[in-house]
């Protein structure tokens, strides 16, 4: 039987079952956000004309901007301390706010220490954009469009949604049970190998947030178009170019994921054939047996590969269903329709390029960008022969204490132990340069340093690093789950539970993650067993499985 025929029934069964289950649980759940039906974007949004006056801003209470920045510094590799470049970006942002009539609103632009194409805004009025946006954007029109789009999220007060989505997350308890049932059903239909597939929880939460996210993005696009055009930037070099670049990035990544998936399928097939050969050692002397063993291996390999392919396809479907962003092409089309009635807005003109070029050519900024480019290169290929030279250069001059370049050097020294042996007995020491420079500190370096020391049974040293890190990042909610896990392992789970209680009181948004982090391995095992037993019982009742 061809492998693809094998896939059809369980694919549909799981997809339909999980979707129905998730919807049933969500619709019937009392913990659905109460405010949802009254939220403005649940009704079809009327596109705002690019030349119309903006809706008046909604009064709000601003979260603390500095604490927001500290929190972002505790995510991923944190932020890049680049004062000159930020001054330029804040100048553009100030013009956007003034054009919107809210020049006195708080918040600034900050640079994410990430090599991905990322940008987002927070309720504190801050906008975070990654370095590749700055080095890829071809004009100020494009950057202004990106910032205007992000400011659209702030202005339109969509940050209220954060609370709604958090409330939606409280359905986790219900839906987790759904996951168990889905898994049990999957086992009954031969799907026990695909536990990692789209779960009822993922689907359920995705569906809740999708309605918000898509409308948000469209509204922010319209807002960004409106403001950027009023500031004199072009649609073609601004909003259109920004969305086209985002589209190209997403397409490239999808292709990369596809290639990775194909490689995985090949490996699965080969492994299955190798296993079959190992399990039938006597087949070597018999042509018929050998052939049968090979067929069995091929069958098993094809089955495994088919399941993997289904996982890939299903994940794609899931991502599409729950994506917070409408497909980019739809967004470009929508803006094209919006500018169509206005010939003046479509007139061809040159982009505004000089101010951006000047900002990027600033001596310190140029050195900083060059060093980060080297660091990203090393992180992506730490085993390359020239990595040591590149990593050293990246962690020098204005970036000598920055987290990403130091992490690049650290990664390289770990990847090439022979080089590390000559350099430093403990590669983790290089990360400590980051601790010494207050504006450059990143939570990531404290985490990594303490983790490795702990693994090496240097508990006292590990605790000292974690104490210092948490001392600095104690007001950053993002730091707490990882810290709790660390102290649980180092000082016992009672201490972790005490910390989790404080975390829950102080930081509602990460409360669930803190509680989870304070769960000891034994408790986790018990919880998993109980969930499985419960879901088995429900699955038996619902699906009459043996």
């Amino acid at each position: 039987m061809p492998a693809n025929n094998l896939s059809a029934r369980p694919w549909r069964t799981l997809q339909t079952g999980a979707l129905a289950l998730a919807l049933t649980l969500l619709v019937g759940c009392e913990t659905m956000p109460k405010g949802m039906p009254s939220l403005p974007f649940l009704t079809p949004a009327v596109p705002v004309s690019p030349v119309a006056a903006l809706p008046p801003p909604v009064a709000r209470t601003w979260p603390d901007s500095a604490q927001d920045v500290l929190n972002q510094r505790a995510r991923g590799f944190g932020l890049v301390n680049a004062p000159e470049l930020q001054r330029y970006l804040n100048g553009v942002y100030a013009r956007i706010k003034t054009q919107a009539g809210v020049g006195n609103w708080p918040g600034g632009v900050h640079i994410l220490a990430s090599d991905a194409l990322q940008a987002y805004a927070t309720g504190a009025g801050n906008i975070y954009i990654s370095m590749p946006w700055l080095t890829s954007a071809q004009s100020e029109d494009e950057l202004a469009a990106l910032l205007s789009h992000e400011f659209g999220h702030v202005y339109l007060h969509y940050h209220e949604l954060e609370g709604a989505v958090q409330s939606a997350d409280t359905v986790t308890g219900w839906v987790a049970l759904g996951v168990g049932v889905a898994r049990k059903t999957a086992q009954a239909t031969g799907w026990n190998e695909v536990d990692s597939l789209m779960t009822a929880y993922t689907l359920g939460r995705g569906l809740v947030t999708t309605v918000y996210g898509r409308s948000q993005e469209s509204a922010a696009d319209n807002f960004g178009l409106n403001i950027s055009l009023k500031l004199g930037y072009s649609y073609e070099h601004g909003m259109k170019a920004f969305l086209e670049r985002q589209a190209s990035w997403e397409e490239d990544n999808e292709q990369r994921e596809q290639a990775r998936n194909e490689q995985m399928l090949k490996t699965i097939r080969q492994q299955a054939m190798d296993n079959a050969a190992r399990q039938n050692p006597k087949a070597g002397n018999n042509a018929v047996s050998q052939s049968l063993a090979q067929s069995s291996g091929e069958f098993s390999g094809n089955l495994g590969a088919a399941l993997q392919q289904m996982a890939f396809d299903l994940n794609k479907v899931s991502a599409k269903v729950k994506s917070e962003h409408p497909p980019i092409v739809e967004r470009i089309d929508a803006l094209g329709v919006a500018v169509a009635p206005f010939p003046d807005l479509q007139a061809s003109k040159e982009p505004v390029s000089m101010p951006l070029q000047k900002a990027l050519q600033d001596r310190r900024t140029a050195a900083l960008l060059a060093n980060y480019a080297l660091a990203f290169k090393v992180i992506n290929a730490p085993k390359e022969p020239k990595s040591l030279e590149l990593a050293r250069k990246s962690a020098s001059g204005p970036t000598a204490a920055h987290a990403v370049p130091l992490f690049a050097l650290y990664t390289m020294l770990n990847a090439q132990p022979a080089v590390a042996g000559r350099q430093k007995p403990d590669p983790g020491q290089v990360l400590e340069a980051n601790f010494l420079s207050e504006p450059d500190r990143a939570w990531k370096t404290y985490q990594e340093r303490s983790r490795r020391l702990q693994e090496g049974r240097q508990t006292a040293a590990a605790k000292k690093v974690m104490d210092q890190g948490l001392g600095y990042f104690q007001n950053a909610e993002e730091a707490w789950p990882e810290a709790i896990r660390f102290y649980g392992e180092a000082q016992g789970w009672d201490e972790a539970k005490r910390m989790a209680q404080n975390c829950g009181k102080n930081f509602r948004r990460v409360s669930a993650r803190c509680t989870q982090a304070a769960t000891s391995p034994a408790e986790q095992e018990t919880a998993e067993r109980k969930t499985k037993e419960k879901s088995d019982q429900i699955a038996k009742k619902l699906f009459k499985t043996p």
Partner: protein
Amino acid sequence: MKFHVPLLVALLALPVSAAIAQGKVVAPSPSTLASLDLYDQPGAAVAVRQVSVAEAGLPLVIQSTKTGFHQVAIGGQNYWLRGLQVRISRDSTASCGTASQSALNATIATPGAGKDACK
């Protein structure tokens, strides 16, 4: 000295135009557009001919760019396309190295400019 200024401006503009001539024309814009207008020079008000999207041979390599027009070869002949009528693939310096090193939790912020493409 005054007559040198326009020349200087023109010279400064050159690398900008050349830099913008990256990428390819990958699709019509809006995506439902069935045909593309072909111009014999940038800035022309009237198209010299039209070509259906199916026959245009997308993607088309952009040879040069000038004030909202992109020069491409269609059927062995050079034409100019209006930038507003086409979607362009645009390079970026981005990759997923740091994302793979630090799994980010769902942001507390609104969704950003696009979906998180690193998986």
